[in-house]
C-alpha cells in the first residue's frame, strides 16, 4: 500500500513537469539557485572523493574485470527494460531485451559474459525517462541534486519509477539484490573513470562549470532521446553576420 502511495505521488510529480516557454530549453532554468548550491557541493565531492576513488578503481582493477561487473549489472536491468519498452509500445525492443536476458543469464554465467552482444543483440539503455518522453511529457526544469548529480525533473521522476518498478527487487533474494546495488555503485564509478578527461574538463577546468555541465547534460540527453543530433536544431551562424 505504501508503494502505491509513493507511485501516486510520483505520477503527480511527472504530471507537474513544466515546458520551457518558447521551447528554448537552454535558457530555461527555474531551479538555478538551488542547482548552483548543489553543484558547488557536488564539485567538491568529486574533487575530494569521487574522482580519486574512480581513478584508483580504474587503474587497479583490470579492464576485463570492470567490464564483467558492468555486464552483470546491465543484465539484471533487462527485466525492468522489458516493461519500459512495453510501455513505449516498442515490441521488438522488448523481445530483444527478453532474448538478451535469457541468453546471457543461461549461457553467460548469469550475465557475467555478454554472449548476446556477439550474436548482434548489444545492450541498449532505456528507462522511464524515455517512457515519459515517448508519452509526450515535457522534460521540466533542470534539476541538479546533491550527490545525485545532473538531471531534469522528468529524469528524476523516471529514475524513481525505474527503481520501484524493477521486478528483480521483488523476485531475487535479499543478498542478490544487495549485490546488484553494490555492482550498480561500481558501474557509476567505472563510468566516472572512463569519462575522466571529459568530466575533469567540464567540472574542474570550466569558467562556469555549472553551465558547462548543464548544457552538456541537456543536449546529450535530447540527442539520446531523439536518436542523434536533430538537424532542425542546427544554428545558422551566418544569420546575424
Amino acid at each position: 500500500m505504501r508503494k502505491l502511495a509513493i507511485l501516486i505521488g510520483l505520477v503527480a510529480a511527472v504530471a507537474a513537469c513544466s515546458r520551457a516557454p518558447g521551447g528554448d530549453t537552454l535558457a530555461y532554468d527555474p531551479n538555478e539557485p538551488f542547482n548552483r548550491q548543489a553543484h558547488a557541493f557536488n564539485r567538491e565531492l568529486d574533487a575530494a572523493a569521487f574522482g580519486p576513488v574512480a581513478r584508483a578503481y580504474g587503474t587497479t582493477v583490470p579492464q576485463d574485470v570492470r567490464h564483467k561487473a558492468a555486464n552483470l549489472r546491465d543484465n539484471w536491468r533487462l527485466p525492468g527494460q522489458v516493461i519500459q519498452y512495453g510501455l513505449q509500445g516498442r515490441g521488438t525492443a522488448a523481445a530483444k531485451s527478453t532474448t538478451r536476458f535469457a541468453v546471457n543469464t543461461l549461457l553467460g554465467l548469469g550475465g557475467l559474459l555478454d554472449i548476446a552482444a556477439e550474436m548482434g543483440l548489444p545492450y541498449e539503455e532505456t528507462g522511464f525517462d524515455e517512457v515519459f518522453h515517448s508519452w509526450g511529457i515535457p522534460e521540466g526544469g533542470y534539476l541538479e541534486l546533491p550527490v545525485g548529480g545532473p538531471g531534469t525533473e522528468r529524469d528524476w521522476t523516471g529514475y524513481a519509477f525505474d527503481q520501484l518498478l524493477d521486478p528483480t527487487w521483488y523476485v531475487l533474494p535479499v543478498a542478490a539484490s544487495n549485490a546488484l546495488l553494490a555492482l550498480g555503485g561500481l558501474d557509476i564509478v567505472n563510468d566516472r573513470y572512463e569519462l575522466d578527461p571529459v568530466v575533469e574538463a567540464l567540472l574542474h577546468e570550466s569558467a562556469d562549470s555549472y553551465s558547462a555541465q548543464r548544457i552538456a547534460y541537456l543536449q546529450n540527453k535530447q540527442a539520446r532521446l531523439a536518436g542523434g543530433t536533430d538537424i532542425d536544431e542546427l544554428e545558422d551562424i551566418y544569420a546575424d553576420q
Binding site: T229, E235, I237
Partner: protein, 220 residues
Amino acid sequence: MPISDTISDRATGKGRAAPSPSVPRRSFLLGLAALGLAVTLGRPASAASTAQAEALVGKLSGELTQIVNSGRGEGQVYAGFESLLARYADMPAVSASVLGPPWRGATQAQKQAFVAAFQHYLSRRYGKQFREYRNARIEITGARDGGKAGVLVTTRVVRPGQESIAVDWQISDRSGSTRVVNLIIEGVSMLASERAQVGAMLEAQRGSIDGLIAQLRATG
C-alpha cells in the same frame, strides 16, 4: 535566438518576389531565367555540397588521426590541432557567433586578437579529449542537408575496447569556401557550450574584451 530566427526566415520565405504583371513578356522570361539561375547558384546546400562536406570531413579526420597517433609531445599535438582549426574551420565566423553582441562593439585589432586567442583555447579544451582517441579510427556514417545552417556530417570515433563516440561536423559554404562551423560531440554543441563559457569569462573580466583575450590565451 539564432535558431528561431532561421525558422521565422523559412516561414516567411523572404526574398523572391513574384514578377509584376506590367513587365514586358520578353524581359519577364529573361527575368525568369535569371531567377532560375539564382535559385541554382543560391541554393544553400545542394547534393554537390553534401558530397563536398563529406570529402572535407574525410580529409580533416585523416589529418586528425595522424596528429593523435603521431606520438609527438603535447605541445606539438596542440599546435597541430590549432593549425587544423585555422585551415578547416571558419574561425572568424565561429568567434563572432560565440562572442555574440560584444563582437560588434570590438575594434578590428580586438577581433583579430580574439580569433587567435579563441583558436588557442579551443585547441586545448577539445585537444585534451581528442588526445584520448589514440588508436581510434573515425568512420563517416552519413551526411544530411540542414538548409541554411549547412550540412551535418555524422561520424563515429571507434575506440578499441571502449564505446564509440558520436562526433558530428556542421559544414557550411556560406563564407564562400566549404568550412567547419560547429562540432557536436554526443549531441553537445561546441557553439552552445563555449558561448556560455566565454560569456562567463567576459563577466568575470567585468566586460573587458582585452581581459578575456588574455585569459583565453593563458589556457594551458
